[in-house]
Subunit: 216 residues, 2 copies
DNA sequence: GTCTATAATCCGATAGAC
DNA sequence: GTCTATCGGATTATAGAC
């Protein structure tokens, strides 16, 4: 008689256990890597927070590096989302406003994902370099092209498309990466809903007016 | 006879050796901490790059933490410089333009200082928290007050002063912290003089037009 | 598949000769 | 003040019982 058959009806399927553990490990790892960086995070700390023995973590991910890559692989997709929703037929007033809103929402809802991404870039993107050069570069060029078409249609003034994206990326990400600095300057324990809203409103205004796009 | 007296005229003064070694260690440490972070940098690596034995580094700085603090202590002053040059009697057109220029110049000339600062903020500013809450907070409030006076004089439109500073900080620092990402998107081995100039021009335009300040 | 015990390595820090 | 040798602790990874 197999081990599985002897465990009774209440036993969860092995596949479910695996799925749950994998998800739990990845979620905890994302938090700790985001808070303390790669070298600053130990497998023991991840295991403890996930309520698993250390060896179990290393059963699912053979090495610490593999676990980090597992966390990273979901990141770029998340980070790039919403960018492809800006298209040449949309008016920049709507499209840029929506993109800024979504990016700040990302900073609010996935601050650790943003921080891991930022730390990776900061330290030379050893693991993301390839994906940046292919996936992100392709989307970047596509989006710059959309900006150029908006300019050709005279929906916006002739600004530098590349630097516009750099500016939107950095200033929206700041609401995750520099959240501590911002909250300290605002004398708050942490950023709250009204701060993110003020950020959206402010950045939308800067970008739209800066690009000479009429406010609705 | 003392050791010093027996060494002849060519011997450099002990005080000079100390000064040189201290400076060399701090410079190398700033580079490596900036590139690899605190946990990602070993004392052995710093010693090797400074052409000194490991124990010698630990002679000058009793612990790794003390060395890191030594590097940090110079940073905030550097990071905060130029902010106090914006005053209420200056026209924002000149003052903001100059501040953006200086901040991007900082990103170009001291990228590792900027990266250490960014990583420190990213991971909760364990060592800088106190200085941020006192020194930076004071300068932040002062600068926001300058913005409010400009608004009162109707030199600029009523924008949110706090978020304006957040935006200038993050978008100018990006030319150091996200330099790799930017250069990859521009298909260059690294950012060059023209990129920093384009950044200054672009950000100045966004901020001045965004705040409704007349371009000169 | 799970987990305890431990091997192997790396790194910060120190002792002590020069 | 300088530097070799090494200690002690932490951390990744594995071996092997269950």
């Amino acid at each position: 008689m197999s081990k599985a058959a002897s465990s009774g009806v209440k036993r969860r399927k092995l596949a479910d256990i695996r799925k749950d553990n994998l998800g739990q490990i990845l979620a905890v790892a994302e938090q700790l890597f985001g808070e303390n960086g790669y070298s600053g995070t130990t497998i023991a700390a991840i295991a403890a927070k996930a309520n698993l023995p250390k060896a179990n973590v290393l059963y699912y991910f053979k090495t610490k590096e593999a676990l980090y890559k597992g966390v990273l692989s979901r990141l770029l997709v998340l980070w790039m989302s919403h960018m492809d929703q800006m298209t040449a037929d949309q008016h920049p007033n709507v499209a840029l406003r929506q993109y800024i809103l979504q990016k700040i929402k990302m900073s609010k809802e996935h601050p650790n994902a943003s921080r891991i991404f930022a730390a990776e870039i900061l330290h030379g993107a050893p693991y993301l370099k390839q994906q940046l050069a292919t996936d992100l570069k392709q989307q970047f060029d596509k989006t710059c092209q959309v900006f150029r078409e908006w300019i050709a249609k005279q929906w916006m003034e002739p600004i530098n498309p590349e630097h516009l994206l750099f500016m939107i990326w950095s200033s929206t990400q700041a609401y995750a990466d520099h959240a501590l600095q911002c909250s300290m300057m605002l004398e708050k324990p942490s950023l709250d809903e009204s701060d993110y809203e003020a950020g959206v409103e402010f950045l939308t205004r800067m970008v739209l007016k800066g690009c000479g796009i009429k406010l609705l």
